[in-house]
Each structure stands twice: as structure tokens, then as C-alpha cells.
Symmetry: C2
Subunit: 153 residues, 2 copies
DNA sequence: GAAGATTGAGTCATCAATCTTA
DNA sequence: TAAGATTGATGACTCAATCTTC
């Protein structure tokens, strides 16, 4: 394997490792009684959106879900009372998903469980300075389109 | 939100962003005709294991899959001719998954597609030095149990 | 014609229960 | 009794097709 390939391979190995870690964290979160990563992500996206509402297609793009996958995710969340569907004022093709107070409460209830999981999985191996470096690099490495909707203001 | 919480939140945001990025990369890979992340991960694990074979329960742990999930994943891969099941010589409860030449070939066929995807998603936002820092930190940040089976020797 | 959302069919994961062997 | 693997039932995501609106 050439030098370039072996560098790419190292990245590939870390990609695979990180994908597995994500599954492990998601498993931990569910076992501890928190909502799944996707649900948390959606609740958070709505919470930080103007007027706590967003078009279905926007949500699908942010979450990297298929349109039908998002439809069903919103179905389940609406059944739980965490979101509502509302017609779009200017485009009758489109629907808005709206966060309810119950949805916000659920996100807040899950936060401490997330905080624990994050500390458990990320906090132990790096010094505070290294953690800071890591965060800054990750932030720049991830595509703007995926980060901007998620970073705290 | 306290200062500590806001740090944790930043990590949480990056966790969510990275989970979404993983979905995006997996989608890209499939569209480009490569095997999925899980399948690649399994093929690679077997390829680097002694004698290209591993116990089912070990594989499940490395991949962060449930036992039944692994059973079915191996079912599909065996149907495709990429792995075989073999009895464990010392423990008749256990089975070994064995990589076939076809499985190795499939992993090798997918590698260039992975290389492209990695370059596209990871190569563009960081300088080579930053990339190196990032890799080193990621390597230390991820749990040993997940990294050691995946890093190139 | 294209964009936005949904539905049905198919795929793939999990949990709980079961069977065999240590 | 526990460990390892599998099976059946269920849940959740994708693709392709459809319907409405731009």
C-alpha cells in the first residue's frame, strides 16, 4: 500500500471506529432512558429554529434522512405529543414541524443523560487543552451544512 | 446553562453532527457501489485477524452489534460467499466466521471508493498538519477496544 | 416539469425467548 | 448457571411510486 493509501486507511479506520462508537453511545443513551440520537437531534434543531418550527424537507436534509424516513419519524414524535404538523403559510406543498412544550421538556429531560454519556465517552482520554483542540478541529472538519444547525449559539 | 454544561453541549453538538456525517458518508458509499460501513468493517476485521477468522461474539462486540444482528449480517455475507461459518476447535458452543478469498476481493474492490469518500469528506477542511493532529487526538480519544481492531499495523 | 410530502414494499436492526454446550 | 448462537416478532429506515402544489 502506498504512503498516501496508508494515510487514507488511517482515516478510514477512524471513520469505522467512530461509527461504531456512535452505535455504542446510542445504545447507552437508550438504556439510560434518553431519546435516541436522531430524536434528540431533531428536537434540538426545532428548539433552536426561529419560532421553533421548520420545514419537513429542511429537517430531512439536516438529519440526513430520506423524506419518507422523516415523515415516519415525525409521525412517531407527533404521536408522543412532541411535535405538531402545521401548514406552511407561503407554500401549500410544504408542512412545518413545530416543537411543542412537551417536546422541549423531553429534550431537557434527556440532556443530563446526554451529559453523562458525553463525559463517559469523551471526557476521559484527553486533557482539557487537547479536548479544546479536538473540538476546534472537529468543528472545522465537519461540513458547515451539518455543523451550523447544531452548534450552541 | 452553566459553563460546564455549555462545554458538554458543544461536544454533544459535534456528536450529533458526526452521527449525521456518518449517515451521509454511508449513503455516498452505497450510491458509489461500495459495501456499507458495517460490512466493510467486518470484512476488514476478519482480514486483519489471525488466520482471517474470528468468533461471532467477538465480532459482535467489535462492531457494536447485537448477537442476533450479527447472526443475520453473517447470514447475508455468507450468502454472498464472502464469509464461511466454521466450528470452533475448542468450544463447541462457538462458531468462527472465516473470510473467503471472495470476501477479501470485495473489501479490496470497495477500498478505492472508500478512499474517494474519505478524501471528499475529510480531506478538504484541514491542513496536513491539522489532519495529523486530528488523527492523533481521535486515536487517543476513541476507546482502545474500538480502535485497536481497526488501526493499520 | 419539479418540489414537497406521503404510502406500500422491502431490508435490516433490536429484544425476548430458545437451544446447545461449558 | 452462564455463554454462545439462533429464531420469531417488532420497529425503523430506504426506495419507488403517487398525489398535490409550485
Amino acid at each position: 500500500m502506498s504512503g498516501d493509501d496508508s494515510k487514507k486507511w488511517a482515516w478510514g479506520a477512524l471513520l469505522l471506529a467512530h461509527a461504531a462508537l456512535t452505535r455504542a453511545i446510542d445504545r447507552d443513551l437508550r438504556e439510560a432512558g434518553a431519546v435516541s440520537l436522531e430524536v434528540y437531534d431533531l428536537l434540538l434543531a426545532l428548539e433552536e429554529a426561529p419560532e421553533q418550527r421548520m420545514r419537513m424537507c429542511e429537517l430531512a436534509e439536516i438529519l440526513v434522512f430520506s423524506p419518507s424516513g422523516l415523515t415516519r419519524l415525525i409521525d412517531r414524535m407527533a404521536e408522543g405529543g412532541w411535535v405538531l404538523r402545521e401548514p406552511h403559510p407561503n407554500d401549500r406543498r410544504s408542512l412545518l414541524a413545530v416543537l411543542t412544550p412537551a417536546g422541549r421538556a423531553e429534550r431537557e429531560r434527556s440532556w443530563p443523560i446526554y451529559r453523562e454519556a458525553i463525559a463517559r465517552h469523551f471526557g476521559h482520554h484527553l486533557s482539557p487543552e487537547e479536548g479544546e483542540t479536538m473540538r476546534a478541529l472537529l468543528e472545522r472538519m465537519l461540513p458547515e451544512s451539518l455543523v451550523h444547525a447544531r452548534l450552541p449559539r
